[in-house]
């Protein structure tokens, strides 16, 4: 049973069966990653381009590893020193890369909808590796994979996403995916960083982290961009840490063990205290490991479509 779409642009509207297919496939690939030889020939002969118009370490390396472990040919494109920097239009850059006969494109871009734009101008399969403040579907899928692996299910699990929801593509993708799988989702953050009408997505809104902690199984803690202080979204990082930062002290209010997740990179002492980041409840590094397996699953499912 193939996926419904030949691109992965976002989790909004993605059918439950498709999400589950990706998660189940990722289980198999995680097993591959445990082997001494971690490479399979699945995408041999396929060419994948990683187009990173925005800097990224974790996601880019994770994709590249996943691609190489599936034996694909990999090309990396980053904007620094590229034709874009020389004034070429986004569209021309893409058309030129496509002319080199590529099969799949992984794109990260600072503009929401950039991956959708790509599907309108090229034939290759497109995977969204983060578009502006819109979606970051592979991150959400690896988050959901981690929850499912740790807690055995997603349905009925209480997840709170903490922090800058307004600017977060990770939050949006998590909300869409988790809701589709039947989780109870809430968000917690300063009102300035809560987008308008988000309650219409069926999420509860909290402004006090201490009200949330007793009710949840998972805290997915977002990175706070340090420049938010300058644009008056928050008074100071200290105040943010005091009210929304996850500390061991605040976690004492928990009635059961809480899974602590973070998409990285962490601002220690801002959204997470170091002791929590490194605690036994933290699955942050496991998320990174799972990221490779989930991305292998996505690349495999899209790359072998119609074969």
């Amino acid at each position: 049973m193939p996926l419904k779409s030949r691109h992965l642009l976002g989790l909004e509207g993605m059918p439950k069966e498709d999400i589950e297919l990706i998660l189940n496939t990722a289980v198999s690939f995680k097993e591959v990653l445990e082997r001494p030889i971690k490479k399979v020939p699945t995408l041999q002969g396929k060419t994948i381009v990683n187009l990173f118009f925005e800097s990224s370490t974790r996601t880019r390396i994770s994709f590249e590893l996943a691609e190489r472990r599936l034996s694909a040919d990999v090309v990396n494109f980053t904007t620094a020193g590229s034709s874009i920097a020389k004034g070429e239009t986004f569209k021309d850059t893409i058309k030129n890369i496509e002319a080199m006969k590529i099969d799949m494109v992984v794109i990260r871009h600072s503009s929401s909808g950039a991956a959708h734009f790509l599907t309108k101008i090229i034939d290759a399969n497109v995977i969204n590796a983060g578009d502006g403040t819109h979606e970051h579907p592979t991150q959400a899928l690896l988050d959901i994979f981690t929850i499912r692996e740790k807690l055995g299910k997603v349905q009925g699990i209480n997840v709170c996403i903490v922090g800058d929801i307004l600017h977060s593509r990770v939050a949006r993708s998590n909300i869409f995916g988790l809701k589709t799988l039947g989780a109870n989702v809430s968000v917690c953050g300063p009102e300035t960083l809560i987008p308008k009408e988000i309650e219409k997505l069926g999420v509860e809104i909290y402004h006090n982290i201490e009200d949330v902690i007793p009710k949840v199984d998972v805290l997915n803690v977002l990175r706070l961009q340090l420049e938010r202080q300058n644009s008056a979204f928050i008074p100071s990082l200290q105040e943010y840490h005091k009210h929304f930062g996850i500390t061991r002290e605040k976690l004492e209010k928990a009635t059961k063990p809480i899974l602590i997740m973070h998409p990285g990179p962490i601002n220690r002492g801002v959204e997470l205290s170091s002791d929590v980041a490194d605690s036994e409840h933290s699955v942050i590094l496991e998320q990174v490991t799972n990221g490779v397996a989930v991305r292998m699953a996505i690349l495999y499912l899209l790359g072998t479509m119609g074969n």
């Binding site: 909004e12 239009t89 986004f90 569209k91 871009h109 600072s110 503009s111 929401s112 909808g113 950039a114 959708h116 734009f117 599907t119 309108k120 101008i121 578009d131 502006g132 403040t133 819109h134 979606e135 593509r169 949006r172 987008p195 308008k196 009408e197 988000i198 219409k200 997505l201």
Partner: protein
Amino acid sequence: MKILFKNARIINPAQKLDEIADILIVDGKIEKIGKIEENENFQVYDFTNKIISPGFIDMHVHLREPGFEHKETIKTGIEAGANGGFTALCCMPNTNPTADDPSVIEYVKKKSKEALGGIVDVYPIGAITKRIEGLELAPIAELVEAGAIAFSDDGNCVQNSSVMRKAFEYISMFDKAIIQHCEDKTLSGNGLANEGYWSTILGLTPYPDISEEIILYRDLRLLSYLKPKIKKEKYHIAHISSRGSIELLKKFKDAGLNITAEVTPHHLLLTDEDIWKSNYDTNLKVNPPLKSGDDVDALVEALKDGTIDAIASDHAPHAPEEKESDFASAPFGIIGLETTVGLILSEFVNKGIITIHKMIELLSINPRKILGLEPVKISEGEKANLTLLDPNLEWIVDERKFKSKSKNSPFIGWKLKGKPLGIINNGKVFWSSL
């Protein structure tokens, strides 16, 4: 030139005229209206079930010249206007250089007389402030002398309230309308889509409707405050887009201020949800942004009840390489000269939302009144300034038929009923090729 239209429906609400008759145009003048025998010297057109209206004016157009000739030129903009059924256009001052100097006004006027033999009257709008920067007043008197029809910093909005107050006071001496693009930039910021459910889903930087409403309210309060002092206020709201703005407009109109408003076809026909449906079509990126269905309801209601005075396209051409990009990088604006008449006929008149009389008021009578232009008369002995319409013709909007240099329209492919057939003005005839 001797043209005879047989059996035309001749409508001009300003003259309480709506009759079926023959009309003979000789050398740009209306020679006769009534029963006219054909003659071999006449070019004869059967106009059964077709309409002859006073010439339409689009009071909000960006012709882009000087400075942005890769998007549009005065010539191509005029051709687009004629093709779309307009005998007159007002062009906005956000060119490069901006129309804050009489030489720019004179340049536009001169160039416009050269295109299509001068069939389309072009009325340039002067800048309120130098370089439309909102800091110092432009040379208003000189601009009036050069022929500025009204004043606007459109594209920008005068942010400083004290500067705006002085603009109101100063321009009131000249009996010219001030056309405001209402946008509090501190609120709109880098906003890309109307703040609400769809901006949240799409992850597009939110642009709140209060950005428009707060400037509108500020201006209306400034005008109320200045009213006892200034000779006459003439304030016109460009591209009104939200329910809140409509409520303000109604309230201050009722209070006796001389204020008017225009709405664009795209704000009447499209919503923020369409950005989602189209997967971020950059031809839906406009400023002010497309609003919610509830706002659209308020705009349509205001169109019907007369709260809105005019329809204008805000024709904003951009080159394909500028629009064919990601949503954030693409510039704001869409073209509208060649779709406005068809859209209003099709989606409003033919659907029974407004009458053809109302349409003519919105596209000819009221905008001319707002701008202080003589009303067009359809009477024997008058100059012929006419828009020719077929209200029943079905057609598909096809960008290959556009005369505009740019093709950035979200209405391409729309099936419409009702079409502009051509125009007659200044002794010339132009037949639309849409």
